[in-house]
């Protein structure tokens, strides 16, 4: 028997989805392997854009073209083929994709990075005109159309997209009623003090914030358009737009007929492998069999995790020694109207006896910092900051090494990432800490010369 030719054709990596996960994976594949063939498929847009920036297009801060992180020539230069099409089925036996127009496309290795789609919970009237979620460019275009000349918008769901939508309408002076099921805004993630701080800020922007309020049904004006909503407590609110922002779920419906195992998302191991050979999944659409770390969820729906999934998979696909996905210290950030939020490490909404907390808020109630630490050895485990930028590098290190929380408090000045000339809040924070704990931590003095040349250390 004669053997096959040893000269193999370069592998064709096909990526479904051109979001941060898919694009990061493609970029790192190309960096590591100059010969492989790479195709990114997306129905949503020809080019990669920053999904988190969609709100700014509506608000007039940017145009679509500004949200593209790479210029259009980038893809051809890096020989990353782009195909704009919707995948409707995946035939893993023949390693073929079938598009919505029934044309087909072959792959050697398939990477599913198809992201999420907005949740809907079967509310009456949820399919009326003027009722929608916000995830894709198409959603944004629809929102532009649906919000022309409206008198009031109702936003349902107290999470990140909900508050973004409220801000978007607010920027166009459209009155907003914001329904939040929980006791306080985003309090499934934020501790009560922080959640209340944001409650106040939302109201400061004249948003009609309704806490502990749930949507019951959406009412039709008789022409198939929304005219009002009814809450579970029976209130009627007239509105011409309803934003459903009650979370997202993996966008995997097109895989239902395939042999790829689906639970909520595409089920993967810590190497992003699915149950089918040569098929991987990363980003929002992937569901880990086991959560990647104790403080992590099985589905990670954050920009940064998408990026790390992409990096790690690309590494594994181009190296013989495979590494499991192992995220470092958790970090995240957001902006609630004018207040920036950053978090590093582990800060749950409520914590157990073994953990202690120090919380400081400025007198105007718009800047805050929380440090959580182990009671036993006083090692810092997490930090929340509002209206106060913190240095990622510092906290990544401090939490990893388990710095004594008083060391961190003493070094808040150098750990701060606020712009120059911002009022230093360090003294006030220490004053409160020292009073509460009968301690006397001092700020390390900087010489005049150090201040003059802006020395960091």
């Amino acid at each position: 028997m004669t053997g096959h030719s040893t000269i193999s054709k370069p592998k064709h990596f096909v990526i479904i989805g051109n979001g941060i996960s898919g694009v990061t994976c493609a970029r790192h594949l190309r960096k590591a392997d100059a010969d492989c063939q790479i195709t990114i498929i997306s129905g949503e847009s020809e080019h990669f854009f920053s999904r988190t920036a969609l709100m700014y297009i509506y608000m007039g801060h940017m145009k679509y073209e500004h949200t593209k992180p790479y210029e259009d020539w980038f893809w051809e230069k890096n020989r990353i083929a782009l195909k704009q099409a919707w995948v409707s089925q995946v035939d893993t036996d023949n390693k073929t994709l079938i598009f919505s127009d029934d044309s087909t496309f072959d792959y050697d290795v398939l990477i599913i990075a198809s992201g999420s789609k907005p949740n809907k919970f079967g509310w009456k009237g949820e399919n009326l005109q003027g009722v929608q979620g916000l995830y894709s460019i198409q959603d944004l275009e629809l929102m532009e159309k649906n919000s022309q000349a409206i008198k009031r918008a109702v936003v349902v769901g107290g999470g990140l997209i909900g508050i973004e939508m409220a801000e978007m309408f607010s920027s166009r002076k459209i009155p907003v009623t914001f329904l939040v099921r929980e006791k306080n805004f985003w309090d499934t993630i934020l501790p009560e003090d922080e959640a209340k701080l944001i409650n106040r800020h939302i109201k400061e922007h004249h948003i009609d914030l309704r806490l502990e309020t749930e949507l019951d049904e959406i009412l039709d004006d008789g022409t198939g358009r929304v005219k009002a909503i009814k809450t579970k407590s029976g209130d009627l609110i007239d509105c011409q737009f309803v934003g459903l922002t009650v979370g997202v779920r993996p966008n995997v419906d097109f895989l239902k007929e395939s042999k790829i195992q689906i639970n909520r998302g595409v089920v993967v191991d810590s190497f992003f492998k699915t149950n089918v050979e040569d098929v991987y999944a990363i980003g929002d659409c992937a569901e880990f069999q086991e959560a990647p770390a104790a403080d992590r969820k099985n589905i990670e729906q954050v920009w940064y995790t998408g990026r790390m999934h992409g990096e790690t998979l690309a590494y594994n696909l181009t190296n013989s020694k495979k590494v499991p996905y192992q995220p470092g210290i958790w970090f995240n950030s957001a902006k609630f109207f004018d207040i920036e939020y950053q978090t590093y490490g582990f800060v749950p909404p409520i914590w157990g006896e073994e953990i202690e907390s120090f919380y400081w808020e400025d007198s105007k109630g718009k800047i805050a910092i929380r440090i959580l630490y182990q009671k036993s050895n006083q090692a810092i485990i997490g930090v929340n900051a509002f209206g106060w930028r913190l240095r990622h590098e510092y906290f990544d290190h401090a939490i990893e090494k388990g710095y004594h929380q008083e060391k961190v408090l003493g070094e808040l000045g150098q750990a701060s990432f606020n712009p120059e000339f911002y009022k230093s809040l360090h003294k006030e924070v220490l004053k409160q800490y020292n009073q509460e704990n009968k301690r006397s931590i001092q700020i390390k003095k900087q010489s005049f010369l150090q201040k003059l040349i802006g020395s960091r250390a």
Partner: protein, 514 residues
């Protein structure tokens, strides 16, 4: 929009229209006496003769007056030129001074009134509009609606504004006689400050300074809560008012040469021109100080301050061009081109201008010390070409006229030779950088969009790399508009400043170099 703001806007537009139309108002009548008093002794006889037909005639507009003036004057000169009697040709341009002397009518009778109802009323209207901005709103930068605005996103209003500015600069540089009425308005002010009647440059300096002050107040409103922006804006307002506008006029009052102590060669390209050197050398101790101070700034000031703080110490804190760009130009900062192609053009152009300025100055100085023998002609030619192409067309017409079309830093980015010099120091020997905060970037693009210098800030931020670019003027707006707290302007140790192959924090599976 609040009622009072609408009133302010209407007042501003009316005053602006008045300002634009005023040059065409009033009548002109030339007298022999004016010709005698406004011309140099050697030209007096000829000029009195040339302009003979104009005496006593009343012109209803400056266009007719200037056209007649040019007709008679050119006829005289052309005859001499065709006869090749070069030494008799009058090379001096008396159009402006004689038109101004011939102006009669309401503006020359009550200049202060016209100043009040045009420029001052315009500033008042603008303030009525600006002061209530963002009132009763929480602190925070609002770029809402910028790309829905015709004025700020190259719409019709933007194009009209740009065209107006371009036209204004062309007239100011090359046809100032048409601005006679506007210059007349500021005569009393100029007399009060320097004891001399106003030139078109005094008018320009006055409007320029007022624009920086009024739009500086707008900056305070827009970026309130951001101390870096507030202090920086106050700084450019101070330097423009005190150093560029008041002090030079006071020097003239004291019989000293007009001198702007914060202007630095090669932006101040005529610093080593012979008339400037003689002026300084002939003005005693203060003149000597001007010369020594100017040279210290070039040789020590620029490298030293730029080493410690980056070029921002000058470009966005002190400089007059920067001052106008950061105040009047702020609404247009998003219009700068961020492509790699634009960056390539930028590097060729700005360093080309630097080389041009250095060569021109070297020839000028060589000529100066060789006592005008060999290089006189070359020096004059170079001065003419540089003054026309760079000093006027690039820095003025394009630099400011293109604000609403290509952003507010066209000159600073593509043309300013001092920015090129500061940039070289900043790129290769400085403690300044914009630090990227670990892995927090979400590639949204606000930083790049609002970078007036056209730096694709996001390209660095998203890969966790510090931004070290020669063109960065350190305005701090990328950091201000970042929604995730990713960017910080810093002066710190040189070690680790340039991290070409950064590792983004957060992924422990691998140490991926981006």
């Amino acid at each position: 929009m609040k009622f009072i703001q609408k009133i302010g806007l209407v007042i501003f537009i009316l005053a602006f229209a008045g300002f634009s139309l005023l040059p065409f108002y009033g009548s002109y009548q030339l007298e022999k006496e004016s010709v005698i008093s406004e011309t140099k002794d050697i030209h007096q006889e000829a000029m009195v003769d040339i302009l003979q037909p104009m005496y006593g005639e009343v012109y209803e507009s400056n266009i007719k007056f200037i056209s007649d003036f040019n007709r008679y004057f050119d006829a005289y000169n052309n005859e001499l030129k065709s006869a090749e009697e070069w030494d008799k040709v009058i090379w001096d341009d008396y159009t402006f001074s004689l038109t101004k002397a011939a102006a009669t009518g309401p503006v020359s009778e009550s200049p202060s009134l016209f100043l009040a109802v045009t420029i001052l009323l315009g500033a008042f209207g603008a303030l009525l509009y600006i002061l209530p901005l963002y009132r009763n709103q929480p602190n925070g930068i609002k770029n809402d609606g910028i790309y829905h605005s015709s004025m700020k996103s190259r719409g019709l209003l933007g194009i009209i504004t740009g065209s107006w500015l371009i036209l204004f600069y062309i007239v100011l540089y090359w046809f100032p006689a048409y601005l006679t009425n506007l210059v007349l308005m500021v005569d009393p002010l100029s007399m009060a400050l320097s004891g001399n009647p106003a030139s078109q440059w005094f008018l320009y300096g006055f409007i320029y300074t007022l624009a920086i002050l009024v739009m500086g107040i707008r900056m305070f409103r827009k970026y309130r809560g951001n101390n870096y922006q507030t202090i920086r804006t106050a700084s450019v307002m101070f330097f423009q008012l005190a150093f560029a506008f008041m002090l030079p006029e006071i020097l003239v009052l004291l019989n000293m040469p007009w001198h702007d102590f914060k202007n630095i060669w090669p932006l101040d390209y005529s610093f080593f021109y012979d008339y400037r050197l003689e002026g300084m050398l002939g003005s005693g101790a203060l003149g000597m100080f001007m010369l020594v101070w100017g040279i210290i700034l070039i040789v020590v000031g620029v490298p030293l301050f730029t080493y410690f703080y980056g070029k921002r110490w000058y470009c966005s804190w002190v400089c007059g061009c920067g001052g106008l760009a950061e105040t009047l130009g702020d609404p247009y900062r998003q219009l700068s081109d961020k492509t790699v192609k634009a960056w390539k053009i930028e590097r060729y152009l700005i360093h080309g201008v630097l080389v041009f300025a250095v060569v021109m100055t070297a020839v000028t100085l060589a000529n100066y010390f060789m006592e005008f023998e060999l290089l006189g002609y070359a020096t004059n030619e170079l001065h003419t070409v540089y003054g026309f192409l760079i000093g006027s067309a690039f820095a003025g017409v394009i630099g400011t006229g293109f604000y609403p079309l290509m952003g507010n830093r066209v000159w600073c980015r593509f043309g300013c030779p001092l920015a090129a010099y500061l940039g070289l120091v900043q790129r290769f020997k400085s403690r300044f950088r914009i630090t990227t905060n670990g892995g927090q970037c979400i590639s949204c693009g606000n930083c790049s969009t609002y970078c007036e210098m056209g730096i694709d800030v996001r390209w660095y931020a998203q890969r966790g790399q510090n931004i070290v670019r020669s063109s960065c003027v350190g305005c701090g707006v990328c950091s201000a508009v970042c929604p995730r707290g990713v960017l910080k302007l810093e002066n710190a140790d040189e070690e680790g400043r340039i991290n070409d192959v950064p590792i983004i924090i957060g992924n422990k599976s691998i140490s991926i170099k981006s």
